[in-house]
Amino acid sequence: MAKKLMKGNEAIGEAAIQAGCRHYFAYPITPQTEVAEYLARRMPEVGGVFLQAESEVAASNMLFGASSTGVRTFTSSSSPGISLMAESISYIAGAQLPVVYINIMRGGPGLGGILPAQSDYFQATKGGGHGDYHLLVFGPSTVQEAVDHVILAFELADKYRNPVMVLGDGMIGQMMEPVEFPTDGIPPAPPKPWATVGMKGRPQNLIRSLYLNADELERNNIELRAKYDAMERDEVRFESYHADEAMDVMVVAYGTMARIAKTAIDGLRGSGKRVGLLRPITLYPFPRQAVRDASDRAKAVLVIELSTGQMVEDVQWAAREGVPVHFFGKTGGNIPAPEDISDEITKVLDGKAVPRGLAPLPLEAS
């Protein structure tokens, strides 16, 4: 297929269709509503189901029902809508259903703003809903990556019987870039003998997350943990941009921030500065080992996010002890220009920046 110029949100919708998804339930919310508007026209064209639900709560629960019948299904939303879905994400993870979520992040907390942000990192990778579960989380930095991640998300959701999230931001959703959809067929979805499609000649199939017996609930949680261990072993993805060389500053950033950082880094490297970028592509599982290994080659680390600091905590945890971790963030929808990032990197290079640290607790007199 030739490259096509598409708006991020629409490309995401098309990617789901290419992945064989024919069931989409969603609710409008800026800045991702175009996904729904695109699929409202496109789904009927491929004989699929498009349904605008009465709320994100309802949409997310429709995914539960549809996924239980074994079909590929997904929704798209933005930060406040994802908060509404948190309950059902927890249920879906507990019930071990494959579902794909697209979060086109916007400013928060609360109603926040409609401009891009990266302030849902904690929600996506560490929590959101209650209980011991994880979403497999992708952080695309181009519209093409978003397309690739959406298609991969359906495969991995089916492989692990776990919900998967593609964490974009308003820029990914709104901008137009050339994209290519895979020309050789997507591998078909695996058989789903656990689906609730009618109890014919077999025992009852039950999709649930309630286990009142402690041992049974523990067994479910151990099964879930085994999945996450497997993901941490097999599904880590990251990009190293000059981070396999010795660096004075290593930037760690994801999504669109990584792109802006690359431009800044190219400029600094042009004037001989040793700066590199480690770009996590999967945010869960976090490329802990890669960050650790790369930090061995760096004098300092600078984490850049469109937030007041979320992924930085994972970088602090992963980086080799003794390597100072700095942070630069912008919020509100103010997107830093490459020059702003160069300035911040330069501050760290010149020793004029204070690392991001936790204030030490006062020692109690004994």
Binding site: A53, M62, Y91, G201
Partner: protein, 250 residues
């Protein structure tokens, strides 16, 4: 001549003894649904959706595939299931908290979109599973653990009449309120439950059967006294009967 069984356990029920309290009419309502599925030959192509409430474990008592929904969300799960597989018979089984409190949005919108599944709504004017709190359907003056002085309509308004509410929607549907507090009413309730599944089998419309039910434990009455309480206190406020038929003029 060998004896014929003229009343036995329906195939759509398992033989597990239920956890429901003595005299709780959940057991009767489960059986009416099961008998209807058997009579219409739907068991093997049915997916039920369990609520959160006393009936959260109802999937142990029905011999068909089941999903367990978050509290109140069953109509949304049913929508997703039925839209993905319109050939399956889909029903939800919900109590007053699930349907009339946390789940009213999902209920109204599924009904309004005319999703072609069946809701069995068990109205016993109280929250059973969590120990007897006030429900949106609790009667005025009724004592519950969160209305210890009796439901004060000045403070919290009047009980919700769900069947009438849903019947005001324009989208064609089948809505009826029945009861199971006397044998005669049980026989009538069976007719209504079966009718709902017949409409679904014919692919016609959304159906809601509201069933007045008892909760002896939390009402503080014996099972037999509870049947009388339905007759004396609930029936005048929640009139039985057909509220909407898909044959009505739109």
């Amino acid at each position: 001549m060998t004896a014929a069984t003229i009343f036995g356990t329906p195939a759509s029920l398992t033989d597990k003894i239920t956890h429901y309290c003595p005299g709780c009419t959940h057991g009767i309502i489960h059986r009416l649904v099961a008998e209807s599925l058997d009579e219409l030959g739907l068991r093997e192509t049915t997916v039920g959706i369990a609520p959160v409430g006393c009936a959260v474990l109802c999937y142990h008592y029905f011999a068909c595939d089941f999903q367990e929904a978050p509290h109140g969300r069953a109509p949304a799960l049913a929508t997703g299931t039925k839209r993905a597989r319109p050939d399956l018979t889909v029903f939800t089984y919900q109590g007053d908290g699930d349907l009339a409190s946390i789940g009213t949005a999902e209920l109204i919108h599924a009904a309004n979109r005319g999703e072609k599944f069946t809701i069995i709504f068990v109205n016993n004017a109280i929250y059973g599973m969590t120990g007897g709190q006030m429900a949106p359907t609790t009667m005025p003056g009724q004592v519950t653990s969160t209305s210890p002085m009796g439901r004060d309509v000045e403070l919290v308004g009047y009980p919700l009449r769900v069947a009438e509410m849903v019947a005001t929607l324009r989208t064609p549907s089948y809505v009826e309120r029945v009861s199971v507090h006397t044998p005669r009413q049980i026989i009538n309730a069976k007719r209504a439950v079966r009718q709902a599944f017949e409409y679904q089998k014919a692919g016609r419309c959304f159906s809601l059967v509201e069933v007045l039910s008892t909760c002896p434990t939390n009402w503080g009455l014996t099972p037999l006294e509870s049947l009388k309480w339905v007759e004396d206190t609930m029936l005048p406020y929640y009139p039985l009967g057909l509220k909407k038929s898909p044959d009505d003029e739109v």
